[in-house]
C-alpha cells in the first residue's frame, strides 16, 4: 500500500469523500472556532468534495459486478483482527450518495438558517463530524466498523440535538436520544459479539453469505438477528424505543432534516438492508420485525394526527415511514425497502427544510399560528412542501408513490393479510395528517394580514428576508423538490442497479396486484379528502375527528404514555431502587463498616489509655514491678 492508493481513483475518491469531513471537523474545533465564516467555508468545501466523490463513485461503478473492498489494519489483538476500510457495493454507493447529497444541501441551507448564530462554527464542526461518521459508516466493510461509526453518528446526533444547550428541553432531548439509542446499541453490540464469537468474522459480505447457516444454529441466528435489530429499533426509533425522535426536534431544523429524518435515523433501516440476507435467514425474527414495524407505523401515525407542532408532525411521520420501511424489508422486499429509504430521504428532507423556512420566518412551530400569520405567502417553500406532502402520502406521480407501491406489493405477497391491511391503514393516516398540516397553513380560518390572492398562495413574504439568505435556503428546496418529482421515474434503473446483485434474495411475492394500486391510491386520496373536509374547505371547523374524542386525543398526544412509562421506570427503578440502594449501601454498609472498624480501634485505644494516668510515680512503680518480675523470672 505504498503508492497504490493514490493511483486507484476509486479508493482515492472513497478516502477523500469519507475522511475530508473529519479533517474539517478537527480544523474547525482546533483552529477556526472564532471565525464562523471560515469554519462554514471549510465544512461546506469538505462536503462538496464528498458529493463529487460520491457521484463519481456512483457513476464509475454503475455496472458493478463484485463489491470492491479496501481494508487496512486498524487493530490487532491476539486473534482478533479489526480492519478499517471501505466496501463499495450497490447499496453502500447509493447510501453514500444520499448522505453526501443531503448533507451538502443541508449545509448550504444552514448558511442561511443558522446565520448569525453564536454557535455557528460549532454547528459546522458537528455537521462535519456527522458527515464523516455517517459516510464512513455507510461504506463500512465489517459490522464492527459499522458499529463504531454508528455510535459516532449517535454522538453527532446528541451534540446537534443539544445544540441550543441553554434550553433545558434541548439538552434533555439530547441526553434522552443518546441514552435511548444506547439501549438499542447495547443489544446491537451483544448481537455482533455473539456473531463474532460463534461465526468468527464480522465481515458484512461473509455474514451475508451462506456460510452462516453452516456455522450457526437457526436459534442462534434468530437470537443474533433480534439483538442486532435492537440497534435498528434504537436508531430508527422503532417501537418501543420510539419516543426520543419527536423530542429530538429540539435541534435546529436543518439538523432535523438531515439527521432525524433523511439520513441518520434511516441508518437503522440501512443496516437492516445491509445485512438483509443474514436477517432473512430467520423467519421468526422477520415476522417479529414485521410486527414491530407495523406497530411503530400505526402508533406514530396516530400521534401525528393531534399535534400542533409542525416539526413534530414530520417527526412522527418519519417514525411511521421508518416503520413502513422496516415492514417492507421484513416482508422480504429488499428493493422496496431501500427504494423507499431513498425517496423518503429526499422528500422528508424537503419537508423539514420547508418547515425550517416557515419557522425561521415566523419564529413559531405552531402550524395554526403559521397559517394565521400568512404562511402561504412564502411561495417556494409552500409549493415545495405541498409536493413533499403529496409524495409522503403516496400520490402519483411523486416518488413516494412508487416506493410505497413497491412495499405494498411486498406486503400483499405475504400469507397473512393483516400486514397488508395495516400498511394500507398507515397510508390512509399518513395522507390524512400530511394534508391536515398543508391545509391548516394553506387555508387558515382567519388571517392576520391581508393577502392578494385567496388560494394561489400569491403574496409578499419575501420582503422581510435578506434576499441572499432566502435564496441560499431556497435552492436546496428546489433541488430536493425536483428530486422528489423525478426520482420515481428511476425505479427500474435503480432496481436493476440494486437487485442485480442480490437477485436471489428478492421475493416479489407474486408480482403486482393491479387492484392494490387503486386501493392504495384511493385510500391516500380519501385521506386527503377527509383532511379537506375537516381543515381545507371553506368554513371547516379545523378540528379533526380525533380531536373531538377527548380521551383518544389525550392518549395520542401523550404518545400512548410510553414516555410516562419510561419516566416512571427511570425514577422508580433506576434512581429509586438501584441508585439509591447502592448509594446507601456504599455510605452505610461498606463505608460504615470500615469507619466502624476505625472507630472500634480508636475506642479500644481510649479504653487502654485509662491505664496511662500520666502520674510519673505510677509509671515508675510499674516499671519497677515489671523489672522485679523479670528479675525473679530470670533468677529463679
Amino acid at each position: 500500500m505504498t503508492s497504490s492508493w493514490f493511483q486507484d481513483p476509486t479508493l482515492l475518491a472513497a478516502m477523500l469523500g469519507a475522511l475530508l469531513p473529519f479533517v474539517s471537523f478537527v480544523l474547525i474545533m482546533v483552529f477556526t472556532r472564532p471565525y464562523p465564516k471560515l469554519s462554514a467555508t471549510i465544512s461546506v468545501a469538505a462536503v462538496s468534495v464528498s458529493v463529487i466523490c460520491a457521484l463519481f463513485l456512483l457513476g464509475r461503478h454503475w455496472h458493478l459486478e463484485h463489491p470492491i473492498q479496501y481494508t487496512t489494519k486498524w487493530l490487532v489483538s491476539g486473534e482478533l483482527y479489526v480492519p478499517f476500510g471501505f466496501m463499495l457495493d450497490q447499496l453502500s454507493l447509493l447510501m453514500l450518495t444520499i448522505v453526501a447529497v443531503i448533507s451538502f444541501l443541508v449545509q448550504v441551507y444552514s448558511l442561511g438558517y443558522m446565520a448569525g448564530d453564536p454557535g455557528f462554527s460549532r454547528y459546522y464542526a458537528f455537521q462535519s463530524l456527522f458527515a464523516w461518521a455517517m459516510m464512513t459508516m455507510s461504506i463500512a466493510p465489517t459490522m464492527l466498523q459499522f458499529y463504531i461509526f454508528w455510535e459516532l453518528v449517535g454522538l453527532a446526533s446528541y451534540l446537534l440535538i443539544g445544540f441550543y444547550y441553554e434550553k433545558f428541553s434541548a439538552s434533555e432531548a439530547g441526553k434522552k436520544a443518546f441514552v435511548m439509542t444506547r439501549v438499542g446499541d447495547i443489544a446491537f453490540f451483544l448481537g455482533i459479539l455473539l456473531v463474532l464469537l460463534n461465526f468468527g468474522n464480522l465481515n458484512i459480505l461473509d455474514m451475508n453469505s451462506v456460510d452462516v447457516t453452516a456455522r450457526m444454529s437457526p436459534a442462534l441466528i434468530t437470537l443474533c438477528a433480534i439483538l442486532i435489530f435492537g440497534g435498528v429499533a434504537g436508531k430508527s426509533a422503532q417501537f418501543p424505543l420510539l419516543t426520543w425522535l419527536p423530542d429530538a426536534m429540539e435541534g435546529p431544523t436543518p439538523v432535523s432534516a438531515l439527521l432525524h429524518s433523511a439520513t441518520m435515523v434511516a441508518a437503522g433501516v440501512y443496516m437492516f438492508a445491509r445485512i438483509f440476507p443474514f436477517f432473512s435467514k430467520s423467519a421468526t425474527a422477520m415476522t417479529l420485525f414485521l410486527a414491530i414495524g407495523m406497530i411503530t407505523m400505526l402508533l406514530a401515525s396516530t400521534m401525528a394526527m393531534v399535534t400542533r407542532d409542525i416539526k413534530q408532525v414530520w417527526a412522527y411521520s418519519t417514525i411511521s415511514q421508518l416503520g413502513f420501511m422496516v415492514m417492507g424489508l421484513a416482508a422480504g422486499s429488499y428493493f422496496a425497502g431501500v427504494f423507499h429509504l431513498t425517496t423518503h430521504a429526499g422528500f422528508k428532507a424537503l419537508l423539514f427544510l420547508c418547515s425550517g423556512v416557515f419557522i425561521h420566518a415566523y419564529e413559531t412551530n405552531d402550524m395554526y399560528e403559521i397559517g394565521r400569520q400568512g404562511g402561504r405567502g412564502l411561495k417556494i417553500p409552500m409549493v415545495c412542501m405541498t409536493l413533499g406532502a403529496a409524495a409522503l402520502s403516496g400520490l402519483p406521480p411523486f416518488s413516494g408513490f412508487f416506493s410505497k407501491e413497491a412495499i405494498m406489493g411486498g406486503l400483499a405477497g405475504l400469507h397473512n393479510p393483516i400486514w397488508l391491511w395495516g400498511g394500507l391503514l398507515g397510508a390512509f393516516l399518513t395522507a390524512y395528517y400530511s394534508f391536515r398540516l398543508i391545509f391548516l397553513i394553506l387555508f387558515p380560518s382567519k388571517i392576520k394580514e391581508p393577502h392578494h390572492g385567496e388560494h394561489g398562495g400569491h403574496g409578499h413574504g419575501d420582503d422581510h428576508h435578506h434576499a441572499g439568505l432566502y435564496w441560499v435556503m431556497a435552492w436546496p428546496l428546489i433541488i430536493l423538490a425536483t428530486v422528489t418529482l423525478v426520482l420515481g421515474l428511476f425505479q427500474t434503473p435503480l432496481e436493476n442497479f440494486l437487485v442485480g446483485h442480490y437477485g436471489g434474495a428478492e421475493g416479489h411475492g407474486g408480482g403486482h396486484h393491479a387492484w392494490l394500486l387503486y386501493v392504495a391510491v384511493g385510500l391516500a386520496l380519501s385521506g386527503v379528502g377527509l383532511a379537506w373536509l375537516e381543515f381545507g374547505r371553506k368554513g371547516a371547523s379545523q378540528v379533526g375527528f380525533v380531536e373531538r374524542m377527548e380521551p383518544v386525543k389525550t392518549l395520542f398526544a401523550e404518545r400512548w404514555y410510553i414516555d410516562h412509562f419510561y419516566r416512571l421506570f427511570l425514577d422508580y427503578v433506576i434512581y429509586g431502587i438501584f441508585s439509591n440502594l447502592f448509594t446507601r449501601n456504599d455510605r452505610q454498609v461498606i463505608d460504615g463498616g470500615i469507619d466502624g472498624i476505625c472507630r472500634a480501634t480508636v475506642g479500644g485505644g481510649r479504653m487502654l489509655s485509662f491505664l496511662q494516668s500520666g502520674m510519673l510515680q505510677y509509671n515508675l512503680m510499674v516499671m519497677f514491678a515489671v523489672l522485679a518480675l523479670v528479675a525473679l523470672y530470670f533468677f529463679f
Binding site: L608, Q612, S613, G614, M615, L616, Q617, F624
Partner: protein, 102 residues
Amino acid sequence: MNSLTTYLFLAALLFSLGIFGVFQRRSLIGMLIAIELMLNGASINFMAFNRFLAPDPIVGQIYTLFIMGIAAAEAAIALSIIVAVFRRLGSINIERAQELRG
C-alpha cells in the same frame, strides 16, 4: 559487725528507702533526693564489694567516683527540669504534671 553482709544490708536499706521515696514523695525535690539515696546505696555496694572481695581494689572506687560524677550531672539536669516545671506549672508537685495522661 565488720562484715560484707552489714554493708550490703545498709546499702539495700538505703536503696529501698530511695525507691520508697521516689514512689511516695509528691515533691520533685524530694524525688531527686530519693534518687540520690538510691545512687548512694549503689555506691556503698561497690565500696563494700571492693573492700571485701575484689583482688584489684582500685576498680570499685573508680565506679563510685563515676557515680558521684553522674549524680552531680543528674542533679544539675534534674534541677533545671524542676525549674522549668516550676516556671510552667507554678509548682513542683508531681501531681500537677500530668499532661501525658491518656
